[in-house]
Every structure is written in structure tokens, then in C-alpha cells.
């Protein structure tokens, strides 16, 4: 495909659609010419294929009372992929409603959820009105929606604690007093993070947590995301760059995620569709007027691009250079990855992911942090001056953590990196550690003997 644009549009009526062989083609994708209805059917076909399971089918009247109703949660940002996925799913429901055998029945209930990110990103439209407009395009089907503020992430005040990084890459956990916990908002949490890439990384953790939580609360068995091929490829590169390569195998796969007492299936119905094809779908169907444009993460600190920005830019450049199929290749690479070697020794207290290779050990093995002894009198005088100015640092750095009621906790590599950008501490809802609970409450044989 080198040298070829991914998508080209036809101006006149001289090319005939290669699918229906009657209508004039409007677009050329993957070397085939399509008229608009055939192209739309082609894209919708990807979702129909992925969600062809019995649980998503409209049931015949005789079987309707059986089992729990299937509920699907759609993560909706207002971006072009989520708008297209909405259309694809809503059209699926509309077809089911019109079907003769199951007339009047939807195969699943659709709930649209938008995480309101306006406190961290600028957006040119109100997502609530986008959703209302889109729902009104499908008057025969019933679709619910809800808007969730990011503040929901810090709603459980009892879980909040202060985290900070030591000079030896350890993570200290300190309790936070009730008043400070009560005053914590999502904005205040991000205020201490000084790098845009770190904010972006933490936001991704927040998003996936909130989406799972919403799916759980709404009793949705399935969570669908709009990520297309290009977006997933971008995710693979970004995760790699952020030291989170160990979770690619499940993060980009259609998979089941444990959440509390249940399992939630996560699907990416548009994984086989390139960004340019999504754009074409929106353009040809006129849905593009509903698409919201986000601008970068708001930052007081710098104008730097983020890891995701650079990765997005990179795939765009590759498209222009004629390497448009790289996104598909990267997605295939990511799909070939499996679970990393070794067993998980603990879980990250910030994001909950498995930790196999403790970041602290790994980083300390490849980083030397001791200086060369001083010799001349002048050097020793300098050290004295330094000690006077920074008594805390010079005191051997060893803070008496244990004495101050401070614990060292396990945090994964990616979260360690983000924590590095948080000064002096990051307030975060810390996950309970099963091991801590077990250690505290389960009596071992020895203890029983003592009693």
C-alpha cells in the first residue's frame, strides 16, 4: 500500500460501486470502490460480526422472559469514533426492531456514558446535546444516557492517601486527614502533577476505572469502546513508551475484566477499521456535524506535547509518507503479545495492574546514585555550605519512614513514572491490598499458639 492514500473520494459518477454494481461509487477504500450505502454496510459489518453472539440477538417472543436482559455500555467521548460507533450500534437495534420474527424487540439495551472531561480538556460542543441529537436520529429504539463527572473518581474519601516517590524509586504512602480528604476534588488531585504526559497517563487509569464502575453499577455485562485500528496502534506505542508494555496483551484485546464480584466483557467493535475510514463514514453519512473537537490537556505548566500526541502525530506522518498500513501492522503485533513471563508478585496500589518485575528493583539495578568521595578542602567546604542550606537532604536521605507511620507500597512502573511528576505528593484513591488485609486479620498458627 506504500504511496497510496488509505481513502480517496470520487468526484463524478463515472465509477460504479464494486459491491452492488449499480450505484455510483463515492469512496475508494482498501482498493475497492463503494457507494455510500455499501460503504456504511461494510463498516457496520465489522460490529455485526464481533457482536453476533446469541446474547446480543433479539429473542423470539416465546424466549423473551428467559435470563437477565443484556445491557451494553457505550463509552462516548463525542470524538468521531464514538459517534460512528453509536450510529453503528443504534442502526443494529433499529434493524432488530424492524425484523419480522422478533418485531418490536431489541437484542440488548444500550446505555451511553460520557465521562465529562471538561475540567481537564477543552471541547467545542456540549456532549450532552450531541448525545440527544444522535438519539433523536433513531426514534424507534430506546437508548439511555448518562454523564459522569471525573469527580466520581475521588468520591470514596476513605480510600484517599498521599503517595510520594523516594530517591530510591520506592513509593511512600501517608494517611491524609479527614478534612483534607473531604476537600479533595479531581482538579486538586491533578494540581500537583507537573507533566502533561503524566496527567494523560493518570487520566487513562481514571477513565478505565470509572467506565468499569459505571458498567458495574448499571448492571451492564458488556462495555464497548470506539477505538479504531489507528487508535489501538497508538495505544500500543504509547503504552510501550510509558513503561506499561506488560498490559498491552489484555488492554487492546476484546477481553473480560474482573470487577468486584463480576466480570465485564470489553469489546472494541471498530478494531478492524482505520481512522481514515471512520472519518469517511462520518463524512459520507453527515454525522461529522455531531463530532466534538477536543483540544489538548489544559496545563498550567508547559506547552509540551504528550506521549499520546507524539504517537498520534507519528501515525499521521506515516499516512502522509505512504506507510498507511503501519497501524494495522502494529495492532497485529500487539495482538500477538501474551501475558508476560513470571508470576505477578503483587498488584499496583494505584491502577491495580499486576506487578511482575518490581520497578524499584529494576530501576535501582540500572541506576547508580552514589557520588565520588570528596578530597580537597575546598570541596569539603562546599559540602558544609550545602549541609547548612539543605539539612534534610544531607542527613543521609534516610528518612525514618517506619517511625512516621509511613508505609512503602507496591506501585507499577507506569504509575511510578507518573508519580515522579507529582510534587511533593499525589493524593489518590489507594486500592486495598489483599495481602495487608490477610496479614492484619488472619491469625497464623504461631499467633494462635501464643494466645
Amino acid at each position: 500500500m506504500e504511496g497510496k492514500a488509505v481513502i480517496t473520494y470520487y468526484e463524478g459518477f463515472d465509477v460504479v460501486c464494486s459491491r452492488c454494481k449499480t450505484e455510483p461509487a463515492t469512496v475508494c477504500a482498501r482498493l475497492d470502490s463503494y457507494c455510500t450505502p455499501c460503504f456504511v454496510r461494510f463498516i457496520r459489518g465489522k460490529q455485526r460480526k464481533l457482536m453476533k453472539g446469541e446474547q446480543f440477538k433479539a429473542k423470539h417472543a416465546s424466549k423473551q422472559s428467559l435470563g437477565e436482559p443484556q445491557k451494553v455500555l457505550l463509552a462516548f467521548s463525542g470524538g468521531v469514533s464514538s459517534v460512528v460507533l453509536f450510529d453503528v450500534l443504534a442502526s443494529n437495534l433499529e434493524e432488530q426492531m424492524a425484523n419480522k420474527g422478533t418485531r418490536g424487540q431489541q437484542g440488548f439495551e444500550l446505555i451511553v456514558v460520557n465521562l465529562d472531561e471538561t475540567i481537564v480538556k477543552s471541547i467545542d460542543k456540549k456532549v450532552r446535546s450531541i448525545i440527544k441529537d444522535l438519539i433523536s436520529l433513531y426514534p424507534t429504539v430506546s437508548i439511555q444516557y448518562l454523564i459522569l463527572p471525573l469527580h466520581a473518581f475521588v468520591a470514596d474519601k476513605s480510600s484517599l492517601a498521599k503517595l510520594s516517590l523516594t530517591s530510591e524509586f520506592g513509593v511512600k504512602l501517608q494517611d491524609i486527614d479527614t478534612a483534607a480528604a473531604a476537600a479533595t476534588t479531581f482538579e486538586s488531585l491533578l494540581l500537583t502533577v507537573s507533566s502533561k504526559s503524566a496527567v494523560e497517563d493518570l487520566l487513562a487509569v481514571v477513565q478505565s476505572q470509572l467506565l468499569l464502575q459505571t458498567a458495574y453499577q448499571e448492571k451492564c455485562q458488556t462495555l464497548v469502546m470506539g477505538h479504531n485500528t489507528t487508535r489501538l496502534a497508538n495505544e500500543i506505542i504509547s503504552l510501550t513508551v510509558k513503561g506499561r508494555g506488560g498490559i498491552i496483551h489484555k488492554d487492546i484485546a476484546d477481553h473480560k475484566e474482573h470487577f468486584k464480584d463480576t466480570q465485564i466483557e470489553i469489546l472494541y467493535p471498530l478494531r478492524g477499521v482505520l481512522q481514515a475510514e471512520i472519518d469517511a463514514y462520518a463524512k459520507l453519512t453527515g454525522l461529522d456535524v455531531h463530532v466534538a473537537k477536543y483540544t489538548e490537556i489544559k496545563s498550567r505548566v508547559n506547552k509540551n506535547l504528550t506521549v499520546n500526541d507524539l504517537s498520534t502525530q507519528y501515525f499521521r506522518t506515516l499516512d502522509l509518507l505512504g506507510y498507511g498500513n503501519t497501524a494495522s501492522t502494529v495492532l497485529k503485533s500487539g495482538e500477538k503479545l501474551g501475558e508476560p513471563r513470571g508470576t505477578a508478585i503483587s498488584h499496583c496500589r494505584m491502577c491495580g495492574e499486576d506487578i511482575r518485575l518490581p520497578p524499584r528493583t529494576w530501576l535501582n539495578n540500572i541506576t547508580t546514585n552514589e557520588g565520588v568521595p570528596l578530597e580537597t578542602e575546598e570541596e569539603l567546604r562546599n559540602l558544609e555550605a550545602f549541609n547548612r542550606e539543605y539539612p534534610s537532604i544531607s542527613n543521609g536521605v534516610q528518612d525514618n519512614s517506619a517511625a512516621a507511620g509511613v508505609g512503602v507500597v507496591d506501585v507499577c512502573y507506569g504509575c511510578t513514572l507518573s508519580l515522579q511528576a507529582a510534587k511533593p505528593t499525589l493524593v489518590w484513591p489507594v486500592r486495598h491490598n489483599e495481602k495487608d488485609i490477610i496479614n492484619e486479620y488472619v491469625l497464623t498458627d504461631n499467633e494462635e499458639d501464643e494466645v
Binding site: G245, L374, E378, L383
Partner: protein, 379 residues
């Protein structure tokens, strides 16, 4: 003259707090004095060598020396560490003469000076002797676009063959952390699944192969290698290879540069990710593909035929025999396939070698000369 003004506290080295900082450490932006920089740079490499048991006393080790900064610093630092920590290894410089006019002539002169400076034996093996082709001839025949592909395959074999000549089975190379990170990204971008799980191995050795390759600079930033060479005033050749990397690799390199600018740790971060990559086990037939080898589908998988680079059609051996430890039928080099990659590439070149050369009798039948030369090398 009065006594020098005392150094401002804020300008002191962040590790010893006594000497004036002269540099920012590219890896973590720590401000360091020269002494502390040498110390952390050398100690980190020593720690890597020890943690991965790269050397054992009595080992004879060949340093793949190109005259460039990476391998020059490698030779210098291995000499330093070998003496400081008593590794007890014998170090030898091994250079490849690819036959690139202007570039290689000057860099070989550098290696020859290094031989004297570091007091190490030097062995030079040339593409011309090994393959009867110089890189310049290959480029004029195959075009500049694929020069890196050819050079990569040929150099790998040349280092092994040079080491064999010296009776050495361990070659250390100057691949640094930036190279590792670039490899991780390239393997993802190219969909090179076979290599994906091995992107970050510090030591590579094919099963049954006598040759071990190791990379003591696996965690060492390229920029720190440059700074070390600069402060130590090491004698190296700083011109890049005339044949610039192919365009696609160039884009990955640019991406890495942009990422490093916003987050210096990204090189380590990518390596950490790469170390976790593990290809999901999937019972699947291995079907190696080469650019100039086309498969013929004849419906029967067990009798799958393959056209080799030299145009011959061969029945593919069953999977059991095509594992590591198989030897190239043409040259005896260890390979996964019937014919090794170098021989496939060379056969393709022979087929398109300009008539002029043959008529001039300069290289009478390159293929014949190749097998003759290779026979002379003992393994």
C-alpha cells in the same frame, strides 16, 4: 590573585555536593561533576555485566570495533573495568571492513590507533574476502534503498566468522539503550513477531551455535556515551555511515528523539516494556518469508515448495529439521533454513551482477569464490 570564589550551593553536583556540576545527566537530568559522572557511568555498566554474568575469568572476548563512538567507548571501558574489577578476560578488537570508500577507510585507521592506545590485538575481516562483494559494489548493484538490510545480515555473519578465525566464541557489541529502544519500536512497527519477545535480550545465542553476542551498553544512553568520549578525549571516528538508514527506520528514530525530548526516561521505559513482551504461545507452523523467496501454494502443506533467491525450487524440509542448529547448505553457517539469509541475499546479487564485472574477470564467479573462501574458515 585572590582565592577562587566558592561555588554556589545550587551549582554543586547533586551526588557529592562538593564539586561543581559540569553537566546534566541525559538519563535523568541530574546535575553532576565530571568525577561523579565517570563513576556512575562506569559503575552502571559494571553492574550490568555482573548482574547478567556476561564474563567469566579466562574468557576470550572479541569487541566488535567499528571506530565509531559506541565501540571505541566500549573498548576503553571494558579495558578499565577488566583491570579495576579483575574480570580476568582477554580482550581482542575485531573489525569488519565493509568496503565503503571514504567512510570505512578512515574509521579503520581509527581502530588501528585504538589497537595501540588500548594495547589489544586487532583482527580485520572484509566483506570482499568473505563474500567477494564490497558494500559499495552491493549498493551499486542492488540500490541504496536496501543497503542496511544487506549490511545488517552480512555484518552479523562477518563478526561470527571473524571471531571463528580468532578461535573466540563471544563477541561484545556497542549496541546502546537507544538502539534497544529503537529495536523494540521497530519490531512493533514491522510486526516482527519472531523478534518481539526477544527485543531486549542482552545476550543472544542461537541454540547449538558456538557464538554468543552480548551488549554491555544495553542500559547506557547514547548521549552519555558521547559525553564520556568527550570528557575522556577518546579517539573515535564520528562520521555516520555513508549509507543512511532506510527511510522507515529513520521515522522511528525521529519519533524516539521527539519522545526523549519530552521525557528523558522514555528510553529506559521502552526497554522496561520490551522486557515484558512475550509472544502468546500459539501452535503455528513457522513459515519464514524472505523478500526474494516466493511461496507456491500447491494445496499440500507438507510438500510446500519454495523458490529460493537463486531461483532454485526446493522441497521444504519438515518443521523438525528446520529448527535452530541447522546448517546452511551453501556455506555451513548456522541457520533456521536450508540456505542462510546471507547466501540468499548474495545469490540474488549474483543473478543481477552487471555483466561488465564478469567480463572483466575481476570476480570470476562470485558464488564459487564465496564457498571456497568460507571453506577455509574453520569453525
Amino acid at each position: 590573585m585572590s582565592t577562587p570564589k566558592p561555588v554556589k550551593v545550587s551549582a554543586l553536583c547533586e551526588l557529592c555536593h562538593g564539586r561543581k556540576a559540569v553537566m546534566k545527566r541525559p538519563k535523568n537530568l541530574q546535575k553532576l561533576c565530571k568525577e561523579c559522572f565517570y563513576h556512575v557511568f562506569e559503575t552502571e555498566i559494571h553492574n550490568t555485566i555482573v548482574a547478567n554474568s556476561l564474563f567469566a575469568p579466562g574468557d576470550r572476548v572479541a569487541i566488535g570495533a567499528s571506530g565509531g563512538k559506541d565501540s571505541t567507548v566500549l573498548a576503553s571501558i571494558l579495558k578499565t573495568l577488566n583491570e579495576r574489577y579483575n574480570y580476568g578476560v582477554e580482550l581482542v578488537l575485531l573489525s569488519i571492513d565493509e568496503g565503503i570508500k571514504g567512510y570505512r577507510d578512515d574509521s579503520l585507521a581509527t581502530v588501528k590507533r585504538n589497537q595501540v592506545q588500548y594495547d589489544m590485538p586487532l583482527e580485520i575481516v572484509s566483506y570482499k574476502d568473505l563474500y567477494s562483494w564490497t558494500m559499495d559494489e552491493i549498493v551499486s548493484c542492488a540500490g541504496i534503498r536496501s543497503s542496511c538490510t544487506y549490511c545488517g545480515v552480512l555484518r552479523r555473519q562477518a563478526l561470527d566468522r571473524g571471531a571463528a578465525k580468532l578461535g573466540i566464541n563471544h563477541v561484545v557489541t556497542g549496541h546502546n539503550a537507544d538502539d534497544m529502544a529503537e529495536t523494540v519500536l521497530m519490531n512493533l512497527l514491522r510486526g516482527d513477531v519472531a523478534r518481539l519477545g526477544k527485543s531486549c535480550e542482552i545476550s543472544t545465542q542461537s541454540e547449538g551455535s558456538p557464538f554468543k553476542r552480548t551488549k554491555p551498553f544495553k542500559y547506557t544512553y547514547q548521549k552519555e556515551i558521547v559525553l564520556y568520549a568527550h570528557y575522556k578525549k577518546l579517539d573515535y571516528f564520528s562520521t555516520e555511515c555513508t549509507y543512511a538508514p532506510e527511510a522507515f527506520r529513520g521515522t522511528a528514530r525521529e519519533l524516539l528523539k521527539a519522545l526523549e525530548a519530552i521525557r528523558p526516561s522514555c528510553i529506559m521505559d521502552i526497554i522496561y516494556s520490551g522486557e515484558q513482551f512475550c509472544v502468546a504461545p500459539k501452535p503455528k507452523r513457522a513459515t519464514p518469508k524472505y523478500k526474494n523467496a516466493k511461496k507456491i501454494q500447491n494445496g499440500d502443506n507438507d510438500n510446500e515448495q519454495e523458490i529460493n533467491g537463486d531461483g532454485s525450487v526446493s522441497l521444504k524440509k519438515k518443521l523438525e529439521s528446520a529448527t535452530d542448529g541447522h546448517r546452511c547448505e551453501k556455506c555451513g553457517y548456522l541457520t533456521m533454513n536450508r540456505i542462510c539469509k546471507a547466501c540468499v541475499l548474495l545469490a540474488g546479487l549474483e543473478a543481477s551482477r552487471p555483466k561488465v564485472t564478469i567480463d572483466n574477470n575481476v570476480a570470476v564467479d562470485g558464488a564459487a569464490k564465496l564457498s571456497k573462501t568460507l571453506e577455509q574458515l574453520s569453525f
